[in-house]
């Protein structure tokens, strides 16, 4: 029970911190950064469920993010639908697409899965780009309305912060719950040895499709929130580069760790700030980071941090578990 209690305490502290931090940042640019960190955390958590838990790579996750954003953008600007309704439609549509494509695509393994998802991402990107009459094409879609709640309109950083972070916190909590349940264990079992998992009665095929669907669904919610926050979207934000960025977030933060996803999202969102000094060198730093992290810190930063903390606490050796 202690482990469970510790989880609850950690989550409570995290939630509390997330909720009070804006009071110190009122009117600051960093509030805006935190809004984007929230969206990216949502995406990283979604991808982590697939990549970190089930061990299935996706190099096309930006497609689901983009689908969510475009469904929201198009339905609100062209048909005047309510943003909340549209958010639900976006999630359902993206989830359905993932469910349908999931069966054939998740039959593939390793490199083939990577390439297939990459192909899917590129196809979706081309669709966003070329269906000019619907999406506005490469020059984007503007005038997307902000989210609202009765009279409260989410048109500034403070409101958006709470909107996005409350949803993100809920998704994080649900994901943590999921990861510690029989489904989470089954996913990790598939990751470790798919054959053994199947022999133990885990229906790997269905489960992979299910988690792919959930992941796409969360990504679409993130996309919808993004669209209503930015009020403008264009295909360039949903290309292959962003898919790789998402994978990087998950890897840097830590595969199979929900807080790691937050850490990865936060670092990649603020990284350009630091790399700005380096100007054009940032792409090199980025590539190096991917290689070095994968080679020498496969558990991600959250694991590194955990080790440092444990070392400092003087209890090196036994690792406390708590992958979540």
């Amino acid at each position: 029970m202690t482990k469970e209690k510790r989880e609850i305490i950690i989550f409570s502290i995290f939630t509390l911190a997330v909720l009070i931090i804006p009071f110190f940042l009122r009117g600051s640019y960093y509030l805006n950064v935190l809004v984007f960190i929230g969206i990216n955390t949502l995406l990283a958590v979604a991808l982590n469920l697939l990549l970190g838990y089930a061990g299935q790579i996706s190099l096309g996750h930006a497609a689901f993010f983009g689908l969510g954003a475009y469904i929201s953008g198009v339905l609100t600007t062209r048909f005047g639908l309510d943003p909340w309704l549209v958010l639900v439609i976006a999630a359902a549509a993206s989830g359905s697409l993932a469910f349908i494509i999931g069966f054939p695509i998740l039959k593939l393994k390793g490199h083939y899965l990577a390439m297939a998802t990459l192909g899917l991402g590129i196809i979706m990107y081309i669709i966003f780009n070329e269906t000019v009459a619907v999406t506005g094409g490469p020059s984007g879609l503007s005038g997307i309305p902000n989210m609202h709640l009765g009279a409260l309109i989410f048109d500034n950083d403070m409101n958006n912060y709470y909107l996005i972070w409350i949803i993100t916190l809920i998704v994080m909590l649900l994901s943590i719950n999921l990861s510690q349940s029989r489904i989470g264990r089954a996913l990790r079992a598939i990751h470790n040895s798919e054959v053994a998992a199947r022999v133990m009665g885990v229906n790997a095929r269905i489960l992979k499709v299910q988690i792919f669907t959930v992941s796409a669904l969360i990504s679409a919610v993130a996309g919808s929130l993004y669209a209503h926050t930015m009020t403008f979207i264009s295909p360039a934000s949903f290309g292959f580069n962003f898919s790789v960025e998402l994978v990087t977030m998950v890897i840097i933060g830590g595969l199979g760790s929900i807080y790691g996803s937050f850490l990865g999202a936060a670092i990649l969102t603020v990284l350009p700030e630091f790399l700005r000094v380096l100007q054009d060198f940032d792409i090199i730093v980025y590539g190096l980071l991917l290689i070095i992290m994968t080679m020498y810190l496969p558990g991600g930063l959250i694991n590194g941090l955990q080790k440092i903390v444990e070392f400092a606490a003087g209890k090196v050796g036994k690792r406390g578990g708590s992958g979540a």
Binding site: G119, Y286, G287, L289, I291, T294
Partner: protein
């Protein structure tokens, strides 16, 4: 009347592009067959080939032939360094890690190329002039003939190498069963290194001969690499005729698709083919189906 001339032009252009895709595809197949790795950085060797040639010709004023040889040499060294630093230390890494590392390497190589040569696109002189040749009313560039010729040479070379040379045979043994190969005394690590050497050399050669047509810039490798991958998937990961057929088929479908359906969805056509093949016949169109289920 004019329609048939147009069709013929689509076919000819499609085949020309297809030969390019096939050439790039070889590189994927060779590394994959020796190591099981799909090298996401393969496209960058195509870029390096073109860029180094340009560098040696335009900046060092070397004649074309020495420039080409040097360019292949330097690209191959990059391939060796890549294998040594990023692939060899991995040992039993999961496919996931290898995917990430090769993606990281491709970003890195691209980034360095951007810093060294800038972001501009550069024209590279054609090997033998830029006046089109007419074949039954359709046209083709002399450079295309070079591409066809070199593709044929590479297939023959591959065939000879993998069927008759000791190293080639050893590499095939590793591809078939690395554990068994090491038991009979084949140095698997060296074979992996060889596969990187050969594929970076072929990749850069592909980059060199297509650069006069496509021009070259630091980021030209991404799309070309992906198309080469599509070709090799259609061809069933073969380092021979399968990939050539795969490339030609891809080029044809793209060209006809662009001509008769929609040019905007040209790239989408390539990737839809990729997905369909992966879904329906992951072993490729030209390979006998394996009976294995797991």
């Amino acid at each position: 009347m004019d329609n048939s001339r147009q069709l013929f032009q689509y076919i000819l252009s499609g085949l020309s592009n297809g030969a390019i895709y096939a050439l790039i595809g070889f590189g994927f197949a060779i590394i994959h067959n020796a190591t099981g790795i799909i090298n996401f950085a393969q496209g960058e060797f195509v870029m390096l080939g073109g860029m180094f040639t340009l560098f040696f010709v335009a900046f060092l004023n070397l004649p074309l032939i020495p420039a080409i040889i040097l360019a292949i040499l330097v690209s191959t060294i990059v391939g060796i360094v890549f294998e040594r630093l990023a692939v060899r230390p991995l040992k039993n890494a999961k496919p996931l890690s290898i995917v990430i590392i090769t993606i990281g390497a491709s970003i890195l190589i691209r980034g360095i190329a951007m810093l060294v040569w800038g972001k501009d696109t550069h024209a590279v002189p054609a090997f033998s002039g830029s006046n089109p040749l007419y074949i039954v009313g359709a046209t083709i560039m002399p450079q295309h003939l070079w591409i066809f010729a070199i593709a044929v040479l590479i297939i023959i070379g591959n065939k000879i190498f993998f069927s008759y040379s000791i190293i080639g045979k050893a590499m095939r043994a590793c591809a078939y069963n690395a554990q068994a190969a090491s038991l009979v005394g084949i140095d698997v690590k060296t074979m992996v290194l060889f596969s990187f050497i050969i594929s970076s050399a072929i990749g850069s050669l592909a980059g060199i001969i297509i650069a006069p047509l496509t021009m070259t810039s630091y980021d030209v490798g991404i799309m070309l690499g992906l198309k080469g991958f599509c070709a090799v998937i259609i061809g069933g990961m073969s380092s021979g005729l399968g990939t050539v057929l795969g490339g030609l088929l891809l080029g044809l479908l793209e060209s006809l698709g662009a001509g008769y359906l929609s040019a905007s969805y040209k790239d989408a056509i390539a990737f839809i083919i990729l997905l369909l093949i992966l879904f329906i016949r992951p072993e490729g169109l030209f390979k006998k189906k394996e009976t294995e289920r797991v």
